[in-house]
């Protein structure tokens, strides 16, 4: 559906990242972790298409939808500059979302890199709420780039890696011993493509089921324009409609 949501708050939580919280009078529609929204950007002359942004969190207490926005270009900059009370036109929820694991007694690993940590917060919450046992492995360049750590900690153990060793293990998420050693039932990943490919390779090697959340550039968000396709074992599929979450068994990488 298409909704005009009101900005409840919009804060820069880092020099490059804004946390935008949106609300409306009525209860927000049900949304699943891993789904995304398409946000219309006003006040940017160079931004024509909507911006696809993953759902960072849904807070039922204050009826807010959280979007973690990495400021990359004019569109995301305009979103980061929104003021409390502004209206934002949003299509939601879009895409499939993560699939539920089978066993409640075997731990689950949620891996996020950069702004790819965003959907893992809500997914961690839902998993914990349903009695699963999620842990998080979050990677960033430096400790200041690790976002929402205390929020994550409410839903499971948090492991971190930083490229400059300022927080957690030095290097990339694939350098963390927990990825290689943990008794994971299932791994969920979102982040830069090389990172997702590396984690997928590790999961395959250990025969652990794995889902990745892709962020192919897209236009319509509803499976009509066929721009965001990923080449899979079933041919080209629309990341916006049949994804953004795909099982690595479907992928050619």
């Amino acid at each position: 559906m298409v909704l005009d949501l009101t900005v409840k708050s919009c804060e820069m939580i880092h020099k490059q990242y804004a946390l935008l919280k949106l609300t409306q009078k009525d209860q927000l529609p049900e949304m699943h972790a891993g789904q995304f929204v398409e946000v219309r950007v006003d006040n940017s002359s160079t931004t024509f298409l909507r911006r696809p942004i993953s759902i960072n969190f849904i807070d039922p207490q204050d009826n807010t939808l959280w979007l973690l926005i990495q400021v990359i270009g004019d569109g995301t900059r305009a979103l980061a500059e929104l003021q409390v009370g502004d209206l934002v036109n949003v299509i939601l929820p879009l895409g499939n979302g993560f699939s539920w694991p089978i066993k409640k007694d075997q731990p689950i690993l949620l891996v996020g890199g950069g702004v790819g940590t965003a959907p893992m917060l809500y997914w961690g919450k839902l998993l914990k709420q349903k009695g699963y046992n999620p842990s998080f492995l979050l990677g960033a360049r430096s400790k200041n780039d690790l976002l929402q750590l205390s929020d994550f900690a409410a839903f499971g153990t948090v492991y971190t890696t930083t490229e400059d060793e300022s927080h957690g293990v030095k290097g990339y998420v694939t350098n963390h011993p927990m990825l290689k050693e943990g008794d994971w039932q299932r791994i969920y990943v979102c982040g830069p493509k090389p990172m997702m490919m590396a984690v997928a390779k590790e999961a395959r090697g250990r025969k652990i089921g794995c889902e990745v959340s892709l962020e192919n550039s897209m236009a319509c968000g509803v499976g009509a324009c066929l721009c965001c396709v990923e080449d899979t074992v079933d041919g080209n599929v629309c990341v916006c409609k049949e994804g953004p979450v795909l099982d690595i068994d479907k992928l050619k990488w």
Binding site: G221, C227, C228, V229
Partner: protein, 306 residues
């Protein structure tokens, strides 16, 4: 007293309840948009370009955002006409709109066979012959850039297709009126224009093209002035009705195209910005008619005051 206003227009024998259609490749098969609007209210729904055989389309990336528009290089990804007939047609044939299939191909025989098969489908009252897709290596636009190419394919399809035949023209030509006249002389009931303009986008930092195919088709408000000019020129050159498209985003744009000579319009890229844009444009056209005291929308076609 509320006056009864006529919004219906004709393209050959095809009657549209209003002049608003969706452009091929921007609206899927309509079903993608049922969460946002009532398909039965739309004048015509032109579904995704369909070829004789399955096509995977071009590799990713297929899209680049540009100022007031976008480039695409989808390359006619579709599962072929047989899949359409067996799996898609049954679910869309009863929509109370005009479901029109955009037909494309690599060679004349493909166009003819696809059109022949669709001619059998009772629920499809028209086809839009795509001789203007810039994103396929063979066929597509090559038929639409010469009068002889246009004549060859339109004549051949006309022989096997007896319902409304709309021919979609390419703007990537020296004189679009020549191609339009060739299509008319070869039996087209209507022409639609413009397909996308061949364009290109580059990532300067990486020194690479943004599309896998290097070049692609430009659409959106950026192309509207060119589309308006071509609709104006073509409507002066042919007697058959013209369907205008290219950057239409709202009711005012739609009216501009009609004043320039279009009997109907198509919404394309606008569907990506506002999935319910068709309904909004239908309403805005009606508001314009009320404001200007127009009782029959056909009065607006070509009504430009010079």
């Amino acid at each position: 007293m509320i006056k009864e206003r006529n919004t219906s227009v004709k393209l050959g024998n095809l009657v549209l309840k209003n002049p608003v259609m969706t452009a091929s490749g921007t609206f899927g098969y309509g079903s993608e948009f049922t969460d946002f609007l009532d398909l039965n209210q739309i004048g015509g729904i032109i579904v995704k370009g369909t070829t004789l055989h399955h096509r995977e389309g071009n590799p990713y990336p297929r899209m680049a955002e540009t100022p007031s528009g976008m480039l695409n290089a989808v390359g006619l990804q579709n599962k072929g006409v047989h899949y359409f007939i067996d799996h898609i047609y049954p679910s869309i044939k009863d929509i109370d709109s005009n479901i029109i299939v955009n037909v494309s191909g690599s060679q004349v025989e493909d166009y003819v066979e696809t059109a022949r098969l669709i001619n059998e489908l009772e629920g499809i009252p028209a086809i839009e012959l795509n001789i203007s897709c810039p994103n396929v290596k063979q066929g597509g636009m090559t038929f639409g850039v010469t009068t002889s190419g246009a004549e060859e394919v339109v004549k051949a399809v006309r022989k096997v297709y007896d319902k409304t035949l709309i021919v979609k023209l390419s703007p990537n030509v020296t004189d679009i009126t020549e191609i339009a006249k060739a299509a008319e002389a070869s039996g087209a009931d209507s022409v639609s224009l413009i397909n996308t303009l061949l364009g290109m986008a580059i990532d300067a930092e990486r020194k690479k093209p943004l599309l896998s195919t290097i070049t692609g088709g430009l659409s959106g408000p950026a192309v509207k002035p060119i589309a308006l000019r071509m609709v104006w020129q073509v409507s002066q050159a042919v007697k058959i009705p013209v369907v205008g498209l290219g950057g239409v985003m709202n009711g005012q744009d739609a009216i501009e195209f009609m004043l320039a000579g279009a009997s109907a319009i198509q919404l394309g890229t606008a569907n990506f910005i506002d999935p319910a844009v068709t309904i909004r444009v239908i309403n805005e056209i009606e508001e314009y008619m009320i404001r200007h005291n127009v009782s029959d929308i056909n009065e607006l076609v070509g009504a430009l005051i010079i």
